[in-house]
Structure formats: C-alpha cells, structure tokens
C-alpha cells in the first residue's frame, strides 16, 4: 500500500478572486472536492508562467484555509507575497484564470484530541495557515493565543475574520510600526508559563522556527513547525528540499520537507546542521 502523496490530485482550477491585502495577495481558487482532504499545514504546488513559460518548476504555497460553500463549492485560500517571478505571475492572474495545481501535499499540523492551550506563532505571511488551524483548534475546544511578527507593519497578515478565531492576538514588528517593537520570540517563555501553553504551532522563516525550538527546549511544550526549504517538485522525487532530522536511535536522516514535512516536530530538526551534512556517511 502506497502512502506517499496519498491525497494529492493534479487538476485545473479557476481563480475565484484575487485581492491585494497589504504587502500580499489573497487568492481564492475553486478546487472542488479536494477541500475535504486538505488539512491545516498542507500545501499546494502550482505551475506558473503559462504554457510557454521558461519557469519549469511548480511553486509551493501553504494552503491558508479551505471552505466548502454550498453556493461556490470547495475553495482554497492562499496568501502570496509577490517576491519572485513565479509568485509575481500568480499574483497578476485575474479572476477566472485557470491554474494547474497539485494538492493537498505534505504533512499537516497535529490536532489534539483533548482541549489544550495552544500558542500559534507566525512570521510574515507564515501566519496565513495559522488562521485555518485556529478555526480547527477552536472547534475542538482549545484555547488559542496568537503571536505574529514581521519586519514592518505592512508585512503583518492578520485578517479581521481571522482575529475572531483566536482568544488573543499580539503583534510585533522589528521597526515598531505596528504592535510592539521587537520579535515574536522576545517574551515567549513568559507567555508559555503565564498561559500554561501545551503546544506551539509555528510557521515562518527558518530563523524564527529555530529560535522557538531553542527557547522551548527546556520546557515541556511541544513545538510543531511548518518549515520552508526550496523545492523543485513538491512530491518527493527531486530530493532538493531535505533537512537534517534526528531519528529515534540518535542518527540523522536527510528528510524531504515536501513529504516528511512541511510540518515537523521542531525538536527533531537538527537546526545547527541545516545547510551542512551530518558527519556519518557523507
């Protein structure tokens, strides 16, 4: 029995809406039935540039949330920063455009069976999938607090409707242009103990994920993070997106962030070895 990519479907999907929100684009795509198998943390791989594109690789985007509406059917929401040529192309696609998508891909955030105290930490547009996660956690009776950080205020993604799905939201910017001046990790230990946090769910730049892992290392808190590595395929065949991850026996494996991630246990990732090669059998 094959288990890799087991829910993934390749299909043509239509852009339902494409709106600019601060520094990002909020893109809604009609995807139909597959919303039933999308879980918070999963991602979608999209072909960019059209048929004669010189960009031959798909772009991976975190699915920020899905909804199954009786009127419009299943829709998937993406929050996209128009940074590189692929994401700029996607952000420039008007309503009604067709996209070649493969989804859902990757691992998802673990949802607790018992109501717990969850802290969601997002960096930049990394906050996007956390709002969909917050909805699911709330529906399971969890208490959900959220910390968002970015370099400047316009890079904070925090939609009005998203704020309703969390008990509290605290914003940090490095230049102080929104919320508190500083980084999300600044008062993390204090927040963990004041609010009896059981699990941290995080999504954002690798530096932030590593910093959170180091801070919670001395605590009982479980840290589930969605990692970001450059991917060529998104489906496990190219071996480019690997991260060093510690196995139960203490050895290290180079795991693919597309199929063994993007959601990983932060304490298992060998952050100090990222970009290097473990010593044994090089």
């Amino acid at each position: 029995m094959n288990t890799i990519n087991k829910s993934a479907v390749q299909q043509v999907a239509t852009i339902f809406s494409n709106k600019r929100v601060g520094a990002y684009h909020q893109i809604l795509i009609n995807v139909g039935e597959i919303v039933k198998s999308c879980r918070p943390g999963n991602f979608v791989a999209i072909s960019v540039g059209g048929d004669s594109s010189r960009m031959i690789l798909r772009r991976a985007f975190a699915i920020s949330r899905v909804s199954d509406n009786s009127q419009y059917g299943g829709t998937m929401e993406l929050i996209v920063a128009p940074h590189g040529s692929g994401s700029k192309w996607l952000c420039a696609q008007p309503e009604g455009s067709e996209l070649d998508i493969v989804s859902p891909l990757g691992t998802s955030f673990g949802i607790p069976i018992e109501p717990i105290n969850a802290l969601l930490v997002g960096g930049g547009y990394g906050s996007a999938p956390l709002f969909g996660l917050a909805d699911v956690l709330k529906s399971r009776g969890c208490k959900v607090d959220m910390l968002l950080g970015a370099s400047i205020g316009s890079k904070i993604y925090a939609p009005m409707e998203g704020k309703r799905s969390v008990n509290s939201l605290k914003i940090y910017t490095e230049d102080g242009s929104m919320g508190e001046k500083g980084r999300v990790t600044e008062s993390l230990l204090e927040i963990i103990s004041n609010r009896s946090i059981d699990v941290i769910y995080s999504c954002g730049p690798m530096g932030m994920l590593r910093a959170i892992t180091e801070i919670v290392a001395e605590t009982e808190v479980i840290h589930q993070c969605a990692v970001e590595e450059a991917m060529a395929c998104g489906i496990g065949i190219c071996m480019t997106c690997v991260l060093p991850v510690r196995n139960e026996d203490g050895s290290t494996s180079m795991l693919r962030s597309c199929i063994d991630g993007p959601v990983m246990d932060g304490s298992h990732v060998q952050w100090d070895l990222v970009g290097r090669i473990p010593e044994a059998h090089q």
């Binding site: 990519n5 960009m55 690789l57 489906i235 190219c238 690997v242 290290t252």
Partner: protein, 313 residues
C-alpha cells in the same frame, strides 16, 4: 484512420512495452509518482542511482531554477543497495513495473560490488551504470570523463553480470569526444548507452555574492539542455548505429521525445519534466503515439535514427 502504433522497444535483451521511462534521480524509487499514474503503464522505472552504503548527499541549497532548466546538486543521497533491494525493488515488481536499477560507485570495485548484489535480485530488466554523476566531491571521480576509467568500470560490471542483465552505461556530455568514450564502454561490454547525464553548471547568488548551491556546482537539466542531448545522441548513433541508446535531456513533450528518437534513441527517459508535472510521462507517451501515427510510423522501431537516413532520389 490511423493504425495503432507498436510502441514496444528493446535495450539489449530487455523488452519494454513503451519507450517512455523515468530518468534515474528524477523518480526516486517510484512510490511518489504512483499516486499520479500506474507505474506499469510506462516503459520502465529507472531508479535513483544507488551506492553500496546509505548516503546523506550534499548540503542545501541543492537546487536553482534557471531559464528553461534547473541546476541540482543532490550528491547521490540514498538508502544504500541492501535497503534498496530489500524494500524498493520488491515493491516496484509488485506494481508490475519494469525496473532498471541505476548504480553509482566511488571506485571501480564499488561498481562490481553493486553489480554482484543485483545478481541475487530477481525481476530487474536492466542495470544502468551511472559513471557520469557530476555531483561528487572530486570531479576526478567522474569516470565518464576519462575513457580509460569508463572502460574499466564497465569491464568490472560485465565480468560480474554480463549476459545476465543488459548493461546500460550512462555517459556525460561534458567531454571533448563523446563517440570515443561511447566506443570504449561498448568494447568493454556495455549493451546500451544512456545519453545524456546533466551538464555541469553554476549559479552565483547576487545577495551572498557566492555560488548559490551548497555543492557550488550542479547538474543542469530541463529543456535548456535538449539540443545538447539531440547532438550527443545523433553523434553516438552515427558512430555506433547498432548500439541502443536510452535518450534523455530536457524531454517535456511527445515532440521532444520523437526528436531524440529520430536522433537515434531507442528509449526515452523523462526526468525534470516530472518535477513540473507529475503526469508528464503519460502525456508524453500519448503525444508520441499520435505523432508517430501522424507521420505514418507503424512502430517505434521504424523511427529510431530516422534523421540519419540517406535520401534515395
């Protein structure tokens, strides 16, 4: 009304129902693609080159997209031959896929050791001897850049499994005289040739102002290298018209596959195209069948090397 095209092809003594294969290193061991199409529906699964021991490969970043192509620098990460033969091959055979196992070694002896391990495995159609991986620490280890080393590797493999499994030698286009290297490995016992491996390249990151890839250099693949593949296959087929060639290099459509077949390829491996499109092999296979039919070819065999024919007026 067009007649159905006989898509079957052979590489040495191995028969395949269609000429469209995966490319080694671009399909892992098949499990990942099995969600998108039935592996038995393509010619063969050419597995990622495996070494004797498990291997971590090169550090990240391992990838850089380039115009109509990409550079990779994986460095032969893999589980090692024992785990591979215990888990991956039986699974592929269970799927009724035809399997070509690709092997890579650091020494001439390692290739022989790997070939010996394959003797005990059943159900394999052929062995691809990858002597041209560009992502090794020491470029001196690229056997395929050295005619003598190439011959010695193939000679060692032939002594171990020659006559039992067709031996396909995978060559590098990064050489001055490819037909000469091809002749050398054929003399040493290769039954077929795989052309081409990736082309050595580099990208420099303008932010860090250093080579972007962790391994500094990488292998260029994708449509950007297709004309190099066509040239290499054409040259080698002209020099060795009776040696079957598994052609590859930037094939992304049926049109591209047919171009390589006209140049002299008996089979086509599709690699990088699967990264952008998990169902690329099936699309390419269907397009190729239609293109052959539209040109009046009843079999793939008739089209192999067709660009070399002499016009009789």
């Amino acid at each position: 009304m067009t007649l159905p095209v006989d898509m079957s092809t052979t590489l040495g003594s191995a028969w395949f129902p269609t000429p469209i294969f995966t490319a080694s290193g671009c399909a892992s061991s098949g499990k990942e693609l099995a969600q998108f199409f039935a592996l038995k529906d393509v010619g063969a699964i050419v597995t990622k080159s495996v070494m004797t021991k498990p291997r971590h490969g090169r550090p990240t970043p391992r990838m850089a997209e380039t115009p109509s192509g990409m550079l990779n620098s994986i460095g032969l990460q893999g589980p090692g031959i024992d785990a591979f033969l215990a888990h991956d091959v039986p699974w592929l055979i269970e799927q009724k896929a035809r399997v070509i196992v690709s092997i890579a070694g650091e020494t001439i002896e390692e290739y022989s050791t790997l070939a010996r391990k394959l003797r005990s495995a059943s159900g394999i159609s052929a062995v691809e001897v990858n002597i041209s991986c560009p992502n090794v620490e020491n470029r001196g280890l690229v056997f395929a850049c050295d005619p003598d080393a190439s011959r010695r590797v193939i000679d060692g493999v032939r002594k171990t499994i020659g006559g039992e499994l067709p031996i396909i030698a995978k060559l590098s286009p990064d050489v001055t005289n490819l037909p000469e290297i091809a002749k050398g490995v054929v003399d040493a016992g290769a039954d077929a040739l795989a052309l081409i491996n990736t082309v050595l390249g580099m990208v420099i990151n303008l932010e860090t102002m250093k080579p972007h890839l962790g391994g500094k250099t990488g292998g260029l693949s994708g449509p950007a290298i297709r004309p190099i593949a066509v040239r290499a296959i054409y040259q080698v087929h002209a020099a060795l018209p009776h040696i079957p060639i598994l052609g590859m290099g930037g094939v992304a459509s049926g049109r591209d596959a047919l171009e390589l077949i006209f140049a002299g390829a008996s089979g086509i491996s599709v690699g990088t195209a699967s990264f952008g499109n998990p169902t690329a092999l099936i699309t390419i296979q269907n397009e190729l069948r239609d293109l052959l039919a539209a040109r009046g070819f009843a079999t793939v065999q008739q089209a192999i090397g067709y660009a070399h024919r002499e016009e009789t007026q």
